[in-house]
C-alpha cells in the first residue's frame, strides 16, 4: 500500500519525501478535525448529564415533561417549550428553546 503510494509520487526522492509529509499532514488534519470529533460523542466518556434519552442528539439539558408535573404552569408553556426546563416554572421566562441542540 505504502510502496504503491511511494511509486506513484512524482519527482525525485527529496520531492517525494516532501509530498509524503504533506499527505501525512493532510490525513492527520482530517482525523483530528473531522473524524475524531465525529467519533467522540459516540463514545461514553462525554456522557456526564442525566437525561431521559440514550442518545446525545437530544438536548442534554432537557428536563422531560412529566418529571415534575405539579410544577407545570400552562400559561408559560409555549410550543417547543414542552420538554424544556421551562416546565419547572422557576421563573426563567426569559430562556428560549435554543436548548434543542442541533
Amino acid at each position: 500500500m505504502y510502496v504503491w503510494l511511494w511509486r506513484r509520487l512524482p519527482g525525485p526522492w527529496i520531492v517525494r519525501v516532501l509530498e509524503a509529509t504533506a499527505l501525512l499532514a493532510a490525513v492527520l488534519a482530517l482525523l483530528f478535525v473531522v473524524v475524531f470529533p465525529w467519533v467522540e460523542p459516540r463514545l461514553p466518556f462525554t456522557d456526564v448529564t442525566v437525561e431521559d434519552s440514550t442518545t446525545n442528539e437530544q438536548p442534554a439539558d432537557s428536563v422531560p415533561s412529566g418529571v415534575v408535573p405539579q410544577e407545570q404552569n400552562p400559561a408559560i408553556v409555549e410550543p417547543g417549550f414542552s420538554t424544556s426546563g421551562e416546565t419547572l416554572g422557576l421563573g426563567l421566562s426569559g430562556t428560549t428553546s435554543k436548548g434543542a441542540r442541533a
Partner: protein, 258 residues
C-alpha cells in the same frame, strides 16, 4: 548429446511463449507476499490511528478545552466589572435573560484543587461542556430557591470534574455571579442511573410528595461514573449556606484566586 541439444532447443523454442513453471511460482509467491504485506500495513495503520485517537482524547481535547475555559473565565471576569442591582433573598442572582452558551458565573471548589475555578455556562450541550461547567437550562440559578444543577466532564475535554468523587460531606462550593457570592455545602453524594432525572428536580427525591413546594436553594453536580464509562452518573448534592452581595468581597477561602 542429441538429447541435450533437443532439450535445449525445445527450451529455447518454448521460452518466448510464456514464463516457466519456476517463474509462475515466483510470481504467485510475490502476489501472496504483497497481499500479506498490505494486510500488515493496514493493521499497523489502524493501530496508529487508534493511538492517534487516544492522543486526541487524552491531550488534544484537554488542550483545546483549557483554552476555551480560560477564554470564558476572562470574559466572565470582565463582565463582572459591570455593576448590577443586587438581587433579593431567594431570588436568582443572575439576570433573567441568559443566552444559551453564555458564560455568566464562576465556580470555585477548593476540594478539587487550591486553584480550581471553572466558568459556568448556560445549557449543558457538548460544545458548552468543553468550556467548563454547564447549567441545566431551566433549572434554578445560583442562590435561587430550587435546584441549581450543573454538569461537567470527568474525563477528556478539560475534565473539570475529574476528581468529583473526592468530594466529602461538608465541602464548600463557591459560586460567583454578576452580583453575589453564593456558598453551597455538600450534604449528599450518590450514584444513579443515567436516566434518573429526578436529581434535577427542585426537591431532588426519587419519590416526590405531590404538592410540596421547594423552599431551599439546592445544588446538584452531575458527571459520569465510572470515570471512563457511562453506565452511571456521580451526583453531588449541596444546600445553600450563604449568599451575600459581591461588594462585600470574596469568601476568605478563595480570596487569593479572585
Amino acid at each position: 548429446m542429441t538429447q541435450i541439444a533437443a532439450a535445449s532447443a525445445s527450451s529455447n523454442s518454448y521460452r518466448p511463449e510464456g514464463p516457466t513453471r519456476q517463474e509462475r511460482r515466483a510470481a504467485r509467491v510475490e502476489r501472496v507476499r504483497v497481499a500479506v504485506r498490505s494486510l500488515g500495513e493496514g493493521f499497523i495503520t489502524m493501530g496508529v490511528v487508534l493511538l492517534l485517537f487516544c492522543t486526541y482524547q487524552l491531550f488534544w481535547t484537554n488542550l483545546s478545552a483549557d483554552k476555551q475555559t480560560n477564554t470564558a473565565i476572562n470574559e466572565i471576569k470582565q463582565s463582572f466589572v459591570i455593576p448590577v442591582a443586587p438581587s433579593l433573598p431567594g431570588q436568582s442572582t443572575v439576570p433573567a435573560k441568559i443566552a444559551y452558551g453564555q458564560g455568566y458565573g464562576l465556580v470555585y471548589i477548593p476540594r478539587l484543587g487550591s486553584d480550581w475555578v471553572k466558568p459556568l455556562i448556560e445549557g449543558s450541550s457538548l460544545s458548552n461542556l468543553k468550556k467548563g461547567l454547564t447549567h441545566y437550562q431551566g433549572n434554578a440559578q445560583p442562590g435561587e430557591v430550587g435546584n441549581f444543577a450543573v454538569a461537567g466532564h470527568r474525563a477528556t475535554n478539560g475534565e473539570p470534574f475529574r476528581n468529583l468523587d473526592r468530594m466529602e460531606l461538608g465541602d464548600l462550593v463557591y459560586v460567583q455571579t454578576p452580583d453575589s457570592w453564593v456558598t453551597y455545602k455538600v450534604n449528599k453524594v450518590v450514584i444513579v442511573k443515567p436516566k434518573d432525572t429526578w436529581v434535577l428536580n427542585p426537591i431532588p427525591t426519587k419519590n416526590p410528595v405531590p404538592g410540596v413546594q421547594p423552599t431551599n436553594a439546592l445544588l446538584t453536580m452531575t458527571t459520569c461514573n465510572p470515570r471512563w464509562a457511562s453506565y452511571e452518573r456521580l451526583i453531588v448534592f449541596g444546600t445553600m449556606v450563604d449568599k451575600y452581595s459581591k461588594t462585600l468581597g470574596a469568601p476568605a477561602a478563595i480570596r487569593n484566586l479572585v
